[in-house]
């Protein structure tokens, strides 16, 4: 079937199988930042923004995304660049495989709640698994970013 998706701000038309998952569609479109970690909607690695809302692209059909806007990290690198350096300063990027999903959901968090508390950060990102970092380094990175932003404001 034919679908039209606004992918990273650009109209994309494609022919897809009815059971094609959005994650597979996106990777085929070259958005390989989108990763699969579990196949059971538990890991958060495949997070993308659908109409501004973070969703698991492994649990959305490409067909359902027809007519919608999808952003992957490929389309949000500028926004991500504002804070990912602070994660890197903590060394919390580690293996990096969970980073794109984590970064996408952090973007969603900060758009929805520009000044979250530590508990709000933990709650919002709870669906993003990371096996390397132990999570606290990611939290410190976001916290340092927020403080530096507040300092500049």
């Amino acid at each position: 079937m034919e679908i039209k998706i606004k992918l990273n701000g650009r109209q994309v038309a494609a022919s897809v199988e009815p059971d094609m998952l959005l994650i597979d569609f996106l990777r085929k479109q070259g958005c390989v930042s989108v990763k699969c970690g579990c196949e059971t909607t538990n890991c958060g690695l495949c997070t993308v923004l659908m109409d501004e809302v973070p969703v698991l692209s492994c649990a959305v059909l490409a067909a359902r995304a027809d007519g919608h806007s999808i952003f992957t990290l490929e389309g949000l690198r500028e926004e991500a660049s504002e804070f990912v350096g602070f994660i890197a300063d903590q060394g919390a990027d580690q293996c990096g495989f969970c980073n794109p999903g984590f970064v996408m959901n952090t973007i969603a968090l900060l758009r929805e709640n520009p000044d979250p508390t530590d508990d709000e950060i933990r709650a919002y990102l709870a669906g993003n698994l990371c096996r390397c970092s132990g999570y606290d380094g990611q939290l410190r990175g976001i916290r340092t970013f927020l403080e530096s932003r507040r300092g500049k404001a």
């Binding site: 390989v32 196949e39 890991c43 990027d93 990096g96 970064v103 933990r122 999570y135």
Partner: protein, 768 residues
């Protein structure tokens, strides 16, 4: 002592925090992993048909119907593969692990064992074909209980061509992978003389590494017709050797490289999936890719060895621990990968913690085959299992004697300068364990948090403690190497065979180059790992990269500096001895004449018979242990059994941390994995011996809501044999959570839990 071996020297680059060199690529989602960089259109998708039985013989296998599925390129069965047995454990040749595998074996030995390889144009066709393969199995009775495996009449490996490259006490006709006894002193005599004896058995499960990127390998024939393997592996050189043995082709025909790796934690120290696509590519001539599903990673991966460690501890009433006697029963599962070696650490990396008072020790073990998923290497590598057992037993002793467990440890712990009989007679040349304990107590507020505090409503707060050690390499065995070369503009290339799996070794090794060559970190470009390009390195495991490959980097830099000086000597027409190297160039001390590094590098390229490239290898006769202390505060709900981790404080002695931020993240990540194994992650089997926790829906990794607040500090020691005084950090950090949490839970409930994980149900219902 060479120039860098000064404990109090301050460094320019070493010992400082820098971002990982690949940080921005990873954080911005650039294509860096196996599946991101291998998108040839003609690539075949490889799938494995797996056995539904834990022990069976493939009587007949019909693939004709499946082969007719449109898009299926090939299907291979046991009849199609070479008949030479091999081991997939990534270990130095000759491997301690037995050669007990074929690419496909007619005898399948665990639920999930490979039965057939399917190669198709896409996944849909491969999956469809898989369902159409007709297999008749002769189902055999399995050995599922490790307690009855040894000398069981049912043999997991009855084959005559089972082959152990090294004598490790194994015997396939007894279901034994390995067996050994060691000791020192009069164990029975001292035990009889002790005022207090404690004896308990502690059980840990086959926990899964659960790295976010599952096992995966891409293979193709390169432009020279050689087998080019791009794999998510920690051990490129071992993979090359394993493929050569398994496929029966020379190593010169194989090139193995690893791009970025999405985590390993030891799982990728075994060539879990490489042979399958490699076989497909050799047979078809086409590119092939195998990406394990999460379920395959869970049921046919390479998890921790399930172990039961029985501790017999003898002490005096004053808390002096005089004798330790450990017996470990280790479950290797269906194949022997890492079986003979992991088990050793359960004793040799736990008992030496009590060198301070120990008069005698004994350590015996059996490693058995059973018909469950084969185990392998996982961060901690047996030490974790042994330390859970021994540290729990010591906590039990402290509680029995009503002695503060930190005080009890201070009376018995290993201290700098002591000879550790149970650690191959090595001397603790750098040991800050005592300072770790003192600092941890202070940071944690031990005096305040150790007492049991009732909050009302069935809620209790209390604390637990544990110590740990590990090694920094496999002594007299691991080889690390580095090549450092001078580039045109006075910058450097560092080429390694060790594998950065996210830990940051590319960066810390580059920091060492920058320190040695007196340049900026950004002036060092790193490349690794590729068997065609990298100098030989055993790979990244056994906590060895910083310590062993780091030393090789230091040696290579020393050599390279001398080469640079000699080129300058030619340019200045003077003896090399009159010259000295600085980061910017070479100076003739008497005259002040100066040749900039860029001029030297261009000189090498013009009318020159000299090069500026140095390769060095390093091996160590010792494996200096890092040490640490962990303390945990929990809140326990006696009514529901819920354990909430509030605070975890860890103080680590890893020698000198080369990059403190990365060392800290290693520690935090290890702690959270340990918390997961203790409280959430379980491995149970169905009646076919298949792990029930076969997905992240059932195998529950800790989330960021499950681990409380972490605090990590370092107490430095100076290891004279390490690069810049460094020891290791990667593995030790996983060892304290289990015993510390079990201790805290006992404090709250009065019940010792000696099996992991400790579930809310066991706590609430008072089950041990």
């Amino acid at each position: 002592m060479t120039e860098n071996h000064q404990p109090n020297r301050t460094y320019k680059t070493v010992g400082k925090t820098f971002r990982k060199k690949d940080s921005m690529q990873l954080l911005l989602g650039e294509p860096t992993y196996v599946d991101d960089i291998t998108d040839r259109k003609d690539c075949l998708t490889v799938k494995i048909l797996r056995s539904p039985y834990p022990n069976a013989i493939v009587e007949e296998i019909k693939t004709d119907v499946a082969k007719k599925v449109p898009g299926v390129a090939a299907i291979y069965t046991w009849e199609d593969v070479p008949k030479n047995r091999f081991a997939i454990a990534g270990q130095t040749y000759p491997e301690p692990s037995p050669y007990d595998r074929l690419i496909l074996d007619r005898h399948v030995r665990f639920t999930g064992d490979a039965v057939a390889i399917i190669a198709a144009e896409d996944e849909k066709a491969a999956v469809k074909a898989m369902k159409l393969i007709k297999v008749s199995y002769r189902v055999l009775e399995p050995v599922l209980d490790m307690h009855t495996a040894k000398d069981n009449p049912i043999l997991v490996h009855p084959e005559e061509d089972w082959f152990p490259p090294l004598p490790v006490g194994g015997d396939n006709k007894r279901n034994l992978v390995a067996s050994e006894q060691s000791g020192h002193g009069d164990v029975d005599g001292v035990m009889a003389d002790c005022e207090i004896r404690i004896e308990h058995t502690y059980h840990t499960k086959a926990f899964n590494q659960a790295m976010m990127e599952t096992f995966r390998t891409y293979t193709e024939l390169d432009r020279y017709g050689r087998l080019h393997v791009i794999s998510s592996t920690q051990i490129v050189f071992h993979v090359r050797r394993i493929l050569s043995t398994a496929l029966g082709i020379p190593k010169s025909k194989i090139r193995v490289e690893k791009p970025r790796i999405g985590g390993g934690f030891g799982a990728k120290q075994t060539a879990v999936c490489e042979v399958y696509p490699a076989f497909v590519t050799l047979k078809t001539g086409r590119p092939a890719k195998l990406i394990y599903t999460r379920e395959e990673s869970q049921i046919a991966g390479s998890p921790r060895h399930e172990m039961e460690v029985t501790v017999r501890l003898g002490a005096n009433k004053d808390g002096k621990i005089r004798v330790l006697d450990l017996y470990t029963l280790s479950n290797s599962g269906a194949y022997g990968e890492h079986g003979p070696t992991t088990v050793g650490l359960s004793g040799h990396k736990s008992i030496p913690l009590y060198t301070g008072s120990l008069e005698a020790y004994r350590f015996c073990y059996d490693v058995v085959y059973t018909n469950v998923q084969a185990a392998g290497a996982y961060r901690g590598y047996g030490a974790t299992q042994g330390i859970f057992a021994l540290e729990s037993a010591v906590n039990e002793l402290a509680e029995k004697l009503h002695i503060d467990p930190t005080v009890l440890r201070e009376r018995n712990m290993v201290r700098e300068g002591m000879v550790m009989d149970a650690y191959y007679g090595e001397t603790a040349n750098a040991c800050a364990l005592d300072r770790c304990m003192a600092r941890c107590k202070e940071l944690f507020h031990w005096e305040e948090k150790y007492p049991v505090r009732e909050l009302g409503g069935g809620k209790i707060r209390c604390a637990g403690v544990a110590m740990a050690m590990q090694g920094s390499c496999i002594s007299n065995l691991d080889v690390g190497s580095a090549t450092v070369k001078l580039s045109d503009d006075g910058t450097y290339n560092l080429i390694i065979g060790a594998a950065d799996m996210g830990t940051g070794c590319d960066t810390i090794l580059a920091q060492m180059v920058a320190e040695c060559m007196d340049c900026e970190l950004e002036d060092v470009a790193v490349f690794g790992a590729d068997t065609d390009v990298s100098p030989y390195d055993s790979g990244s495991y056994a906590s060895s990269t910083t310590y062993i490959t780091g030393k090789a980097v230091e040696k290579a830099c020393t050599d390279l500096k001398q080469q640079i000086i000699e080129v300058a000597a030619g340019m200045l027409n003077c003896p090399a001895a009159e010259l000295s190297f600085s980061g910017k160039g070479v100076t003739r001390m008497q005259t002040g004449e100066f040749v900039p590094l860029t001029d030297i590098s261009y000189k090498i390229q013009l009318n020159s018979n000299r090069s500026a490239i140095a390769t060095a290898s390093s091996c160590s006769p010792v494996s200096p242990p890092p040490y640490m202390v962990g303390m945990v505060e929990i809140e326990l709900d006696k009514l529901t059994g819920q354990v909430t981790v509030l605070d975890y404080v860890a103080v680590v002695d890893c020698g000198i941390p080369i990059n403190p931020a990365l060392a800290r993240i290693q520690t935090e990540g290890g702690l959270v994995q340990g918390i997961g194994h203790t409280l959430f992650e379980n491995v149970t089997y169905d009646s076919h011996g298949k792990p029930i926790e076969n997905s992240f829906m059932q195998y529950k990794l800790p989330t960021r809501l499950d681990m409380g607040h972490l605090q990590v500090e370092f107490e430095n020691s100076y290891e004279p044999t390490g690069p810049f005084g460094a020891k290791s950090i990667g593995e030790i950090v996983i060892n304290t959570p289990a015993p510390a949490l079990a201790h805290a839970i006992y404090r709250a409930t009065g019940v010792w839990h000696r099996e992991l994980p400790i579930t809310p149900e066991q706590i609430a219902m008072g089950k041990e």
